[in-house]
Structures are given as C-alpha cells and as structure tokens.
Amino acid sequence: MKRVYVNEEWCLGCHLCEYYCAFANSNEKDMAKALKNVIIHPRIQLEEGDNINFAVSCRHCDDPLCVKGCITGALSINDGVITADTNKCIGCYTCILCCPYGAISPGEHGVIQKCELCTTNIKGSPHCVVGCPNSAIVFEER
C-alpha cells in the first residue's frame, strides 16, 4: 500500500506540510480563507531538533494498536487506511495513548483526528506531499 514516508535527510523544518494538511482537511478551496486567523491543528506534525527535522503522520500500520485499543470501534481499517468515525468517537483518547508514533491528536468537538491520507477530504490524495518543497515526504509503495 502507498503510504506517506519522510526522508529526514531532506526535511527543512519549514512546516509547510502542516499548513497544507490543515488546508486539505478544511475542505475549503482557498487557503487564505481556510487558514487566515486560524490556529491550525494539522494531522502531520514536525519534530524539530538541532540539525534534524522530520514530519510525522499516521504510519497506517498493518497491525494498528490504535484500532485494537479503541473502545467504541470508531477506528477501522479501510483498504489499509486507518480511518476514524467521528460519530462513534467519544473522546476517551485511548488511541492517542496507544499510538507509538504520536500520530493521533485531539480534534474539534472533543473527538480525535488523524491522517487518513486525504482520502476523506476534497483533495483525495496526500496534500502534505504536494506541498513539500524538497520532496522530503513522499507518497509511495515500499
């Protein structure tokens, strides 16, 4: 399955992926309209260090601990993509504790949010990858 992978060698720590992610998931057509005066909660997050940066998003694990841990069955695997049903999520954040990559975060209205490879927003394919200026994140089969 194609996943989003990060090549930390080329990650510049520019944070653009975060903004492209927030834009994609706003389902707005204009980025300025979507993100002006908004504090973004992207589903990909940059880890920054002295000389190394890399962006982390859901790994879409083959054997996902978050899905196992979810007490309401809100998380499921759809064609390999781990998706969240926000109608079922009760905001217990068990999945947030379970995910070894810290890839799930609290979203709006008390429920969680996570990367669904842009399959559930208007972009249709990973928008963070499109926005990365240095090909540091790629969407590919490995």
Partner: protein, 501 residues
Amino acid sequence: MGINFLYPEYEVIRNMDKCINCRVCERQCANEVHTYDEERKIMCSDDALCVNCHRCVSLCPTRALKIVKSDHTFKENANWSNRAITEIYKQSESGGVLLSSMGNPKDYPVYFDKILINASQVTNPSIDPLREPMETKVFLGSKPKKIERDKDGNLINNLSAGIELAMPIMFSAMSYGSISYNAHESLARAAKEVGILYNTGEGGLHKDFYQYGSNTIVQVASGRFGVHKDYLEAGAAIEIKMGQGAKPGIGGHLPGAKIVGDISKTRMVPKGSDAISPAPHHDIYSIEDLRQLVYSLKEATDYKKPVIVKIAAVHNVAAIASGIARSGADIIAIDGFRGGTGAAPTRIRDNVGIPIELALASVDQRLRDEGIRDNVSIVIGGSIRNSGDIIKAVALGADAVYIGTAALIALGCHLCRSCHTGKCNWGIATQRPELVKRLNPNVGYKRLVNLVRAWNHEIKEMMGGMGINSIESLKGNRLMLRGVGLNEKELQILGIKHAGE
C-alpha cells in the same frame, strides 16, 4: 554609526489578506528579512536585508508575497544613475573593492539576439526529427590530419584521446566550495544520465564523486588546489584554467571561513586558511610554458586524457587561441564576458573582456585561416541561455558549449547575484548545512536532465528545419546565420551576412 545613505533596492510586498502567519518566509530567508510580531500578530519585513532571491515568494503557500523594485529615486540624471550613486555611497562607507557575483548584468549588446537562423523552404527539404534520424553527438579533441591505412588497406586508428558527448553541451567549471556538495552531486548525476560532462572547477574532486569520473572534467588552475595523480586520472579530460570570463586577468579567493571539513580535504588546503588562486599560473609566461604543462599533464595520465585550455575572451583572443592550438592542447574553451562567478570585483566583472560571439567567430576564423582548426575543438561559454544560442554558437564555429548559469538556474538559482555572501537561500552557492539541504539532488539532477534533454530536442528541431541532420554539418556553417541591426564591422567579424542578403 553616522548616516546610512543607502535606501533598500527592493521592497517586500505582503498581501495581508492572504498572509496566514505560517512563518514559512521567516524560516526560509537566511537574510532574516521576515519576522513575526507576536503582539500585533502580523508578519513584518526589513526590506534593507532582502537580496531578491524569491525563496520566500516561491514557498509562501498562499502567494501572499512579491518583491518589487523600489521606485524610490534620486533626482534623475542620465549620467549619474542610481547605481552609480549608490556604489559611491557603498565604497565611501566601506573603503573596499565592490564585490559581485554571477555574470555581467550590464546593457552591452547580446550578439546572439541579433543573429537569426535559417530554415528550408521549397528548394531544399526540411527534415522531421521525429521521423528521421538526427545526430547531435559530438566528439571533442584534435582531429587527425589524414586517413592512414595499413598495407592491407585497413584503417589505422590515429585518433588522439578525445571526449564523446551525447549532445553539444557540458556543465562548466564550478568548484566544490563555490557551490555546494548537493549542487555538485546534481551536476555529476545529470551529466552521467545524459552522457555529457561536468567540470570540477578548481576545487578538487570530492571522494564521493570519483564514481562519476567518466563524466568529469578535472580542472587544474593556478592555485593547483586538489590536484594529485588520482585526481588527474579520475576524469575524462583535464582542463587547464588560464582565465575566466567573469574576471579575466585575476585569480580567485575562497575565504578561510569557507575552507571547512570536506572542502579543506578536497582542496588540500588547511582548514581555515584562505585559498588564493594567483592571477597567473606562476609557471606559465608563454605558449611554450603552457605547452610544458599540457604535456606534463598528458605524461602524467599516459596520453589517455584530452587536455582543455580555458581562457577568458579578451581583446587578442584569436592570437592567443592560435598559440594554444599549437601548444598540444586538444580543446580550447573560451569564456565570454557574461560568464558567471561566485565572487568577482564588480568593476572587473562589468568592464573587462569581450562578448563571446565575437571571440568565437574570430577564433574559429583565425584557426581556419592558419590551417590549424582541426588541431583543437572549440568549446564556448559565457551566458548560453537557450538552445537557440547553442545553434548559433555551433554555426559560428563552436564544437560544444559550456553552460553554468543556466544549469544553476535549473537548480533553483534566481540570479540574485549574492553568491559571495555565502547565504544562498537555494542551497547552491553556500556551505551552511541547513541551506545546502534545501537542494535535494534527487530533484536537482532531474531538473538538469530535463533542461538539457529539452534543449537537445529543440536543437534537433531547428537543425531539421534547416535541412541538416547532423550537428557536424552545422558546425561553422555561417551561411545558416543572418544578422539584424548589425553594422558592417560586426558582420565582418561574425562572418555572417545581414538579413535580406
């Protein structure tokens, strides 16, 4: 501190309706133009620091930014231009030589733009390169004077060492030090992929790049930095650099601050000490001396590598080239006054040398007149901007061209001409690791490959239009060119007719 007489040359214009405060511009500008004002929750900029490199403009996700030339002006004066006045302010402040980078930006005639190319109509058929074979492969090196056969009539191979190129293009000399590791890797990989050569410049060859040796020209310059036996043997050809178009007559100076880590190792210069290339080669004061170096290098490499002698296009270029063609060199490289550089004194860059088109035409003519044109191939550089320039150069007599600035532009260079500050925002002319990283060679080499492949298509297309199916038949074929708006003298030097003739 006194009064600062300088007003910023550019203004950073931010469309506040579009800016989403992502601070990408702030993180990406190594000149620290942009800052975020926490209190007012807006982005601010200090125009005075901007060099107009467009890094922030290209990365701003909402296209909120543009850089405009300031319309702030002095009282108009045709003699004392804004530039002339500001340069005096700068020098009276610093007391120093003005430094610049890249090629001569001044408004001298560009002869390529005053030359037009022919095409076939009715009486001689044009050729469709998509349907018929079209050859752009070139061989550089000295050509044998006659065909020799053994007693059974078989051809004797009397060719001396040469270079084979898939197309008449090479990447010109840019040293590791003046440009980054990633820029070098991009050039080397692209050269290998398309079957052409790149050039180490005078900075030596990084050990990681020996694997691209068959696509490398190793340079020997006046400082002899990084030159040793393995280095000479690593390349496909050796270039003796006598001069450079951007700064004819002077040497080079890589400040000690840039002689760090691998650069110090590659150049064989102690860390932190300045790498100074003298203006002349101290062992070359005549063509005879040059001949000695040419043959020393050939001897050292078993006569397996062709030797290129690179000179800047200066007033006596034809006579100098004639001497070089007799020195045993296989290839003459001529660099015009628009050639780029990582750092040059502004006055020299802007005032010394001659246009490459004139230099090329006169060298080719002189060597032909003297019957020694086949002794050498001619490679020219110094602002080849597109495939049209290449066609014109070949028709004027060049065997191939060197591209430097165009290659860097393909890699992202925006010609902000601030290479000498070492803070290239595009990761090209810098050694700062966080900036070098911005040039991902996996992306960079592909862009170079795309560029030269596209140019090669266009070359074939134009050759086909002229009814020519091999670049060899275009070489020196000045009948394929016509001048527009040139005077008799210029036409005579270029050896072409005026349009309509």
